[in-house]
Symmetry: C2
């Protein structure tokens, strides 16, 4: 049932994004194309699903949450555009990243050398993400046209800035800073705090927003159910991210749509790497760290890293931790009405820790 229902969500979000006239007047044309690109690439649309289903869970009409659902997806995508610039990622969902596409265009159209073109591509991708942030905010405000009261619409928009924008971007900043802090200064809780900001904040917002629209009034803003359902999503988000980090090293490149090992290339101390490092002796630590930050990895090198992570016990601990968080999330749901949406959200929490892409 989950996959079918996710597909329904994706279809409706894809249509809303495709038909929205916001990107219409952007120039030049390749900036417009870049603004439309990531939000139209598909993907799992997990965030809209959480928002729509938590709305349904609390008795709301999911149609009233449709603009908010499209908004969080566009919001998620602008952060990806800027992340890809910062992380120098060349691929996203199996296609070239935004800045990379524009760099290639600049090489052709303006006969720029690769280095200048890359810089031009990044400049334009900064601007594309900036417009997408506005597009997301505008889409959310349309909620006032789909049956959400103006006062609640303003409340939800303010929450987007106060709970998501600051936290999510602080999380991204901490993620960028971490490789420079030295692995010894980290701890599992510091790493999970960063994940909770970077991934949990937006998912928490999705759940709280869906629930608020479901309850239908701003007067429920401090209702216990809002906080609980937010907790469900945030725990699921961290579980998801831990699994994502695992996939980044143990996953299948074809299914993943990006090179396996790119986290290693960026020198990111994921919980997986941190725990492996922590459990190794001095020569083992030196060896593990020597694998961080390489531009690419041979199959043999990847296998060595995998073996070290597995044998240090880190792989098992991270997968267990992800499962524990997903179970904690699911337990929260048991306090909610037993309806179709609860079932979907439970299945979703399972999906997040069992997925292979």
């Amino acid at each position: 049932m989950l996959i079918l229902e996710l597909q329904k969500v994706a279809d409706s979000i894809n249509r809303l994004i495709r038909e929205d006239d916001f990107p219409g007047k952007i120039s030049p044309a390749y900036l417009k194309a870049s603004v439309i690109d990531y939000p139209s690439r598909g993907g799992k649309r997990l965030r809209p699903a959480v928002l729509l289903w938590t709305c349904g869970l609390l008795g709301g009409k999911t149609a009233s949450a449709k603009f908010a659902a499209a908004a969080v997806e566009i919001y998620h995508n602008w952060t990806l555009v800027h992340d890809d610039i910062i992380d120098n990622d060349k691929m996203r969902r199996g296609k070239p990243s935004s800045h990379f596409i524009i760099a290639k265009l600049a090489e052709k159209r303006f006969r720029m050398k690769p280095e200048e073109a890359l810089s031009y591509g990044k400049d334009f991708a900064i601007l594309a993400g900036d417009i997408q942030q506005g597009w997301a905010a505008n889409m959310l405000l349309k909620s006032a046209d789909s049956g959400v009261s103006p006062v609640l619409t303003i409340h939800l928009s303010r929450q987007l800035y106060e709970l998501v924008n600051r936290n999510l971007i602080s999380g991204e900043a901490l993620d960028v800073e971490m490789p420079h802090l030295g692995i010894g200064g980290l701890s599992p809780s510091k790493i999970e705090k960063m994940l909770d900001l970077k991934t949990g904040a937006l998912l928490r917002y999705c759940a709280e927003t869906g629930a608020m629209i479901g309850l239908g009034s701003v007067k429920f803003a401090s209702d216990r159910r809002i906080r609980k359902i937010g907790e469900f999503a945030s725990l699921s988000g961290v579980a998801f991210q831990l699994k994502d980090d695992w996939l980044g090293i143990f996953g299948n490149e074809k299914k993943l749509g990006k090179p396996v090992g790119s986290d290693l290339s960026e020198g990111k101390p994921t919980l997986l790497i941190y725990l492996a490092w922590k459990n190794l002796d001095r020569p083992g630590r030196t060896k593990l760290l020597s694998f961080l930050g390489k531009p690419s990895y041979t199959a043999g090198e990847l296998e060595t890293v995998r073996k070290m992570i597995r044998e240090s016990g880190a792989e098992g601990r991270v997968l267990k931790r992800a499962e524990f968080l997903a179970n904690s999330a699911k337990n929260i749901l048991l306090d909610f009405p037993d309806n179709k949406y609860r079932k979907l959200l439970l299945e979703l929490a399972d999906f997040l820790t069992s997925r292979e892409k």
Copy 2:
């Protein structure tokens, strides 16, 4: 009177920005500092002044427009943070630019080499600007707490995205693209169109928003006065920008707070450069273009460029054009009530074409 009243506006905006708790929870600390930095550097606060005075012009209480006024200033500042990254500007209002400050910090704290540190500085400045865009949007939504109806607050927020975000950023993109298009393919109207998007769009929004809050209801959204007052601001904005381009070459570096000639360094075909180029013979054109894109200029080189621009007649034409646009703007105001605010706006339009910094 103008200077005194501008100072009053600046004081009230500075206080609102200083006291707002939005940046409070940002981490790491130097990202928070970066988010607060540009909006706190002062400056002329022209945009808030336009917004508050157009509100007063149409009989509104300026206090009800205070959050909107602070919002447009923060909005303007996030665009500067991203512009400075894109333009590689090291200075802003007499101090180092955002990305440059963080680059220096990264050199010290993380012992990065200058090149890596600059890239780190740019990454963080991208994120700082991203948060500032959210901060501005959040500040605007606070208008619902200062007497603007929720429905009007939503309308004004949507206008910010639909009229400003897309247009302003398209203008910035066209500005970045222009040096690569070849000067022969330009025209005065193409250049002014870009200026109208990049500078005019936000000023038009300031005036329309002030006027809407002044009239007090969303039912005036298509009122002729809204369109006219927007036209006033947009014409003033282009006049301001033409004068700004003039100052970028003929201005006084100390008063300007940034190096004279930085537009030349970036190879930007301003109206000034375009008209000079257009009026020169072939050897003159070659000579003029040879000055574009240098990393810096000696006093002698700058004097040569100034002389070419002056003697080609371009300087006179641009200054006349700026004056004409400012006069057209002022004529529009004559249809509005003759009150204190009209007087201030008339003086402001004069100020924009007579300023020396």
